[in-house]
């Protein structure tokens, strides 16, 4: 079988990681969030974007990990990086300095304008669920040239109203970012386990531009907390290739084994 031939079976989660990886370019300087973004970014590096610069907020610039880090500060990142800087330098010179082309984020909840919540569900002072908080995300979302988001789709995560805006997407719609003095693009693409969404150029509302193989419009609508719209030029996402799946599965198997080993 040719390496770029469509693969056999794959999970929705694998599809999400593969389509997220494809969004990255070889020349990108990418600020990598932990979890799903890290898998996508390293899959990109191990397939079509070997020269991509991966930056983790722990200070590692140009990390080339052989296994996915469990935390954003694993020794693996430092050992394989071009250089490692202090955390204040990372946020001041590299992020605020405007050196990052893509920030790759995830979140617990997102609204139709790609604002993200990772802080609380319920009231801030008396939350129903206390989530980890923003970490690097508030400034990643405003300082990177553009933002990619990867997040599994469900009515719990795709909500009509966010209880808390941890990081800014397109605010309340057109002109929101510019009114705050921002010149960066904000979220340009959202990769889920069911589809790819992009902000409509006029309304800044996320619309589905591509459905993953086998996913119906009805299924995508059912997993979304707002009335979901679809692009007139709606496409079907190309299934993961055999090579993409192989590289991803190898990476995840290596990582799982590494995270189980005793210190």
């Amino acid at each position: 079988m040719a390496m770029d031939a469509p693969a056999g079976t794959f999970s929705a989660s694998e599809m999400m990681t593969v389509v997220a990886a494809r969004a990255l370019r070889n020349r990108d300087v990418c600020f990598v969030g932990i979890g799903a973004p890290s898998a996508a970014c390293n899959l990109a590096r191990l397939t079509h974007a070997p020269e991509i610069t991966l930056i983790y907020e722990s200070g590692t610039i140009g990390a080339r990990p052989t296994v996915l880090p469990l935390s954003i500060g694993d020794g693996e990142l430092c050992e394989t990086a071009l250089t490692t800087v202090s955390v204040p330098e990372m946020f001041r010179y590299w992020l605020q300095g405007g050196r990052i082309t893509v920030g790759f984020l995830s979140g617990a909840q997102m609204d139709r304008h790609a604002n993200l919540n990772t802080t609380v569900v319920g009231e801030y002072r008396k939350p129903k669920v206390r989530l980890p908080g923003g970490g690097g995300a508030p400034e990643i979302a405003s300082s990177c040239q553009e933002i990619f988001i990867t997040i599994p789709m469900s009515r719990r995560s795709f909500v009509e109203h966010l209880p808390f805006v941890t990081s800014l997407g397109h605010g309340s719609g057109p002109g929101s970012r510019a009114a705050l003095g921002l010149t960066t693009q904000g979220p340009t693409r959202v990769m889920t386990d069911l589809c790819v969404l992009e902000p409509d150029p006029d309304s800044c509302e996320l619309v589905v531009t591509s459905l993953h193989p086998g996913v119906t419009q009805e299924a995508a609508r059912a997993a979304c907390g707002w009335p979901l719209r679809f692009s007139p030029s709606l496409a079907v996402t190309a299934a993961p290739t055999a090579q993409e799946l192989q590289v991803l599965r190898d990476l995840q198997a290596r990582s799982a084994a590494a995270h189980q080993e005793a210190s």
Binding site: G73, C78, F91, Q96, G134, T166, G181
Partner: protein, 282 residues
């Protein structure tokens, strides 16, 4: 000038009830042994400052040591929630915990301002987000040259900063390298600094000329505690115990199980147990 002493002496002399304490280390070099000593000595009413509370503050918060937490990301990295932190915030268990919540950029800037003896830090941040609405210590300032509105946060000035480092020479100069986080800033911002180290050496033998070296006169006390960063790691000495971070999810989920674990593994033990985690020291 840095005094070499036991960890118990270092904590007894430098950490007081009600202190503002920063224990830093960004995934790497987290000073777990020192935190456990603070627990054993029964300190109370602390303000705990740390960008990523991690397991180290989950343990302290769950044992009721802290009245207040200043932080920017409170999860178990790659695993999930910090259950003791959540229980304190959601249910006031074992006692209420006041939060001062920031972003990473804000805390990194605030430590740097503290080290630079500035009253506050200005940076381009918190744009279009909700944290400034719930944290009155996030304010803004107009640039006197361009008129741009910038975020402003007060400098972090801990009473005591506690870090773990790879080694110290016999004069008390301290070296750390690898992911160096905000430790240099946190030490220089503090009134007192305790450093635990993997070992003391005749020569620091810096692997490069630009790794972080803290002169002995910036450090108050040094205690040699091999393995003292476990289950985090010390680059060049031992690796991160990722499996323990995963196990902590189960240990910490239940209040009784957590308390039993802390009693058995922390309160009834001493810093010498960390030696087992450092292959070089065994």
């Amino acid at each position: 000038m840095a005094d070499f002493c036991s960890l118990a002496e270092a904590v007894a002399a430098n950490v007081r009830d009600g202190d503002c304490v920063a224990m830093e280390g960004f995934t790497h070099l987290i000073p777990f042994a020192a935190a456990h000593e603070v627990l054993r000595q029964g300190r109370r009413h602390l303000t705990l400052v740390r960008m990523t509370p991690d397991l180290i503050y989950d343990q302290l918060i769950g044992m009721g040591v802290a009245d207040r937490l200043v932080f920017s990301w409170g999860g178990n990295p790659g695993v999930g929630s910090l259950h003791r932190l959540r229980d304190a915030v959601e249910n006031d268990w074992p006692q209420p915990l006041q939060l001062e919540e920031h972003s990473h950029a804000a805390m990194a800037n605030a430590y740097e301002a503290g080290a630079a003896n500035m009253p506050f830090a200005a940076f381009r941040g918190y744009i279009g987000v909700d944290l400034p609405k719930v944290n009155p210590r996030i304010r803004s300032i107009e640039c006197p040259f361009t008129g741009e509105r910038l975020a402003a946060v007060p400098a972090i000035r801990p009473d005591v900063t506690i870090i773990h480092a790879q080694r110290a020479d016999r004069a008390g100069n301290v070296l750390l390298d690898g992911i160096v986080g905000v430790q240099k800033q946190a030490v220089l911002a503090a009134k007192r600094a305790i450093v635990t180290v993997e070992e003391t050496v005749d020569e620091l033998a810096a692997p490069g000329l630009n790794c972080v070296v803290l002169p002995a006169w910036t450090v108050t006390a040094i205690a040699v505690v091999p393995g003292g960063a476990y289950p985090s790691y010390a680059q060049g000495y031992y690796r991160r115990a990722n499996s323990f971070y995963t196990q902590w999810d189960e240990i910490s989920r239940d209040r009784d199980r957590f308390r039993a674990w802390m009693q058995e593994q922390v309160l009834e033990r001493g810093p010498e147990v960390f030696r087992a985690y450092s292959p070089r020291a065994r």
